[in-house]
Structures are given as structure tokens and as C-alpha cells.
Symmetry: C2
Subunit: 147 residues, 2 copies
Amino acid sequence: MLKSAREVFMDYLRERDMNLTPQRALIVEAFLAEEGHFTSEQLYIKARKADPSIGQATVYRTLKLLVDSGLAETFDIGEGVALYEHGYGHAHHDHLICTKCGRKVEIVDEVIERRQEDLAEEQGFTLTRHRMLLFGTCPQCLEGKES
Amino acid sequence: MLKSAREVFMDYLRERDMNLTPQRALIVEAFLAEEGHFTSEQLYIKARKADPSIGQATVYRTLKLLVDSGLAETFDIGEGVALYEHGYGHAHHDHLICTKCGRKVEIVDEVIERRQEDLAEEQGFTLTRHRMLLFGTCPQCLEGKES
DNA sequence: TTAATTGCAAATCGTTTGCTGAAAG
DNA sequence: CTTTCAGCAAACGATTTGCAATTAA
């Protein structure tokens, strides 16, 4: 049985003699409750609802811990802000992004995943992670534009 | 026959009543002479060799024109700086990046390209561009580490 | 002479960091 | 007591922008 996300984080903290402070606990809960992709700012706003005295730096620092512990993944779609999402106990997926409305659809494809491994191997690389972003126009925005 | 990169840029400027100033010409030449990936800063340093009075803002502004005209492509590998590379008359490719030494290998794969199109279509999206980054450890860095 | 363009410096903006006091073991 | 943390504000670093002076058509 897989460890729960909270266990993973606790173990991570314990290993490096760090504490689960109320602030960290609160930010992690806000993080776990979050769906989809979000920015540090968005998590900050959410965390502040639970405790208005939370500082933005603490959110940044905790997000770094979450990424480092494997609970979160971060990526950049070139908009000047880092995006975060769950990364533990979630099947890997890539993103299809509408450049008109910003909608992001998660996609998975076995064929691509396998080819990526093969390509890396052909070059003698050991693959640790990858990021695939497909940019286009979503059905809704296409409709609006065609008229 | 395909238009040359310089022609593309000239046409682009003409269409919007912009001029090919000495600074722009110089930056474009530096850009065209560049191989592989580079940052705005790197292009700035190179351009300054041809004309030390060039301003960094002009390089940023011209790079934007280059991207907009289709001559350049830009992407972000999450290091806080935008990377640029040629995007006209060059077959599309993706990147395999060594997270130890930063080496970047260009890769192309028909199978993946096709699947990407299919995936987008399945969701009703019209694909305009995509970005695939594979992160791992290159053969050289693997050797060093194994010992 | 009129609009486009430059270089400079100041402004932005997301993110990081130094510092001081508070809290945890 | 000793170390870890939080919050704040200042620092940062890449990129953008306002502006006055310069250049191109």
C-alpha cells in the first residue's frame, strides 16, 4: 500500500529535522485540497483564508518543500508565473492549452511516453522527467472565432 | 522557393510600416549567425561587439519582432530566463536536456509529432505549436556519477 | 516635419533572502 | 537553551516601459 501524501510529507520533514508547523500544515492542506493547476499566489490567497497572518514567503518556501518531497510538480508555460499541481499518487499527464482562453486539458498517451524513453535512451540519456505542452485553440474558442 | 530569412523579416517590417534600422539589422545578423539556443543577454553581448552603443532594450524589442515574424522561437525551461532559437526554415525539433551540465540535444520524432496532432484533435483542439522537454542525465554526466 | 526608434533609467513583477523575534524540542 | 521558523521588508534578476533625443522616410 502506498503511503498517503501526508505521510510522505511527514517523513520528508522528519528526515531533515524539520517540523510540521501550523503554517506548513495549513498550506499543505490547502495544497491537497486544490484541484488542477495553480500559482503560488493562488495558494497564498487560499491559505490566507485559513490564517490571515500567513506570509507569502512561507507559501513559496513550503511549495518548494512540496516539490522537493515529490508531492507537487511545478512547470512553466511561459507566462511568467510558475504553475503547480499534484505530483504524488497521480498518473503522469501532459497538457493541452488553449492560447485564447487559457483552458488546460490534461492528456495522457502511452505511445508518446514510450517514445520519449526510447529517444532518451538512443542518446544515452537517463530520463528523469519530462514536460510536454501542446498549444492550440479549444473547441469553444474555435466556434467564437469562425463566425 | 522559400523566402530567405532576411526577406521574411523585411516583409514583416514593411507590412507594419517599420524600418530596418542599423540596430535591427545588426541584431538580426547576430541572431542568424547564432547556433543553437541562447538567451537575450547572450545575443545582447554578441550584438554589442558589432556596436557597443546598442541597448539591451533594443535587443529585447527586436527579439520580440523576430519571434512575431516567425524567424525565432522562444521557450522556457524553467530556469528563469527565456531561450531563443531559429524557427524559420528549420525542421521542428524538441529538446533533451541534461540537468547536470545543461547540455541540450535536439530530437525529432515523427511518431510523437503525429500522436500530438491526434491527441489535440481528440479534444477538438486545433494545434498551433507544442513544446516537449525531456530532462535527464547525459552519458558524460552519468559516467562521472557512477564511479 | 512627422512618425518611428533608440538608449537610458526607472518601473514591474514573480520569487528569494536577510533579519529579528517567536516557537518547538 | 539551541535550533528551526515565520513574517516582514528589502533585494533580486529578467523583462518592460516612459521619455526625451535622434533618425528615417
